[in-house]
Amino acid sequence: MALVSNILTQVFITLISVVGVYVLTGLTGMFSLGQAAFMAIGSYASGLLVVKGGMALAPAIVLAVLMTTLVGYLVGYPVVRLRRDYISLVTLGFGEAIAALLNRMTSLTGGASGFTGIPRRTTLLLAAVSAVAAIILVAFFKTSKYGRQCIALRGDELAAKAMGINVTRVKMTAFLLSVALTAYSGCLYAFYMSYVDPSGFGWKKSADWVIMVFFGGVNSLTGSTLGAFILSALPQVLRGLQNYRYVIYAVLVLLIINFKPSGLLGEWELTPRNLARTARSLGRKFGTRKETH
């Protein structure tokens, strides 16, 4: 039971980050390879505020998320106005720089040997509620004017501008939302693991998240969530295959790219309306079968 709870808690924490990546990559068509670095900043900042600053948990988390979002603004400012390739290149560089910084500031962060002694405060319930809340917020975001503008500029920036969309600003909004979600996930992570070290936040982790979004369906929040659930639970279950994990992932994704580029679910979303429609068509299928009996 403890094992299941442990796995689920980690899956829910990952889910929050992946939902953030969905906003950035799925909705807006931007890629961040420094996303994990924002998680690191969230982890370290909230951990430090509580352990060394003596703050209570909730305000520490709020402050940490705000700080990370501010850093996101500084990183995003020069790049959101440029071609979208820049954001992935620059965030990759940013990730490396943050890793170097965390390794270097030994007195504050414990350097490469990690930052220990963070109280264990994240429960399964907190992680689950947070993940569900994150998914709901992002679902609302997707159907809002922001979500529409994100999807519009994802396909055609020039036409989006011609419709009066402030592309730079919408991109920045999406980027900051994803940074904030990731930072929050980092806070939960720190207070669950009670220990963080810089090596866990490299570009591989960011790439992992993109792959999860893509696996389930890059245009579907439901698909991304499902992808995150499957792919982040899998390695926890198959612990013995740790080394093969990335290879298996990669092969799976290459198959999807080549043969089903829209991912597992394509654009399908879990909404009451779609559910009813699917149920109806299934009903028709089985209904006719019963009649012939």
Binding site: G93, W203, K204, V210
Partner: protein, 299 residues
Amino acid sequence: MFLGEATKQMSLQIVINGLATGSVYALIATGFALIFNILKFSNFSHGATMTAAAFTAYFLVAAKGGGLAATLLAAALAGALIALFGEFFGFRRITLKHSSPTYFFVSSITLGTLYEGLVTIRVGSNFYNFPSFFKNPTIRISGLVISTGDAMMCIISLVALILLAYVIQKTRLGRALRAVSFDRDTAQLMGINSTRIIQLTFVISGLLAGAAGTFLGIKYTLYPTLGSLVVKGFIASVIGGLGSLVGAVIGAVLLGLIETLLLSLLGSGYSTIATFGIMLVFLLVRPQGIAGSNIQEKA
């Protein structure tokens, strides 16, 4: 102003080390820029290609007593083969379908993950050292100490870049490559087999990646995440101007010099951060990069 003899020596030393570092960054950046140029996406598998190629050369040649030339050749060939594999399994179908850049991005990081994963399975997280290829590890010229490895790196990179420039500017392949990178569909209509040209571009990029990986392995050590040094090539490309080969070389040399200078002033951790800061400022001031080739979406 009077520069003391010692200071002069030191700054000269920094310039030389910077050029050496810059030359290997230039190999990375041009390999990356070639693919960017032709398919208009950032190839994030480039780093892992470097690692995988360098390791292949290590196990097949260097560990069995092969010399520098044989090792480099093996690495370059391995790089080319890996790049061809990637082109076929990662990019061929989405290129033909004119898929959105999203797919290229995901494909490239997936390939990167795959290569790095395979290397990790073979070597664990151990560090490997290339055997010392040179009798004298350093050369001394009037008080300056130059590592023989660095000197070879500079020379070989320079030769490789000159060859590359020749191929692109003077040969039929180069002309076709420029045509395809300008407009793939029109080039195809003009009778250029653009799939073949893309393949060849990947081969060239892979050759460069193999060489760069080996040099990095010699300069530092060989380890599975060595490829993350590719970020230096990316930064160089951004500074130089995305997609411009000349820009990539200039950016790389500049980055090498700046980094070596910062390294001597700030130490290793902070120099990475300072380099990143410089890139951000650079993007604010001159987003089109040094070469100023601005890739615009078609109206």
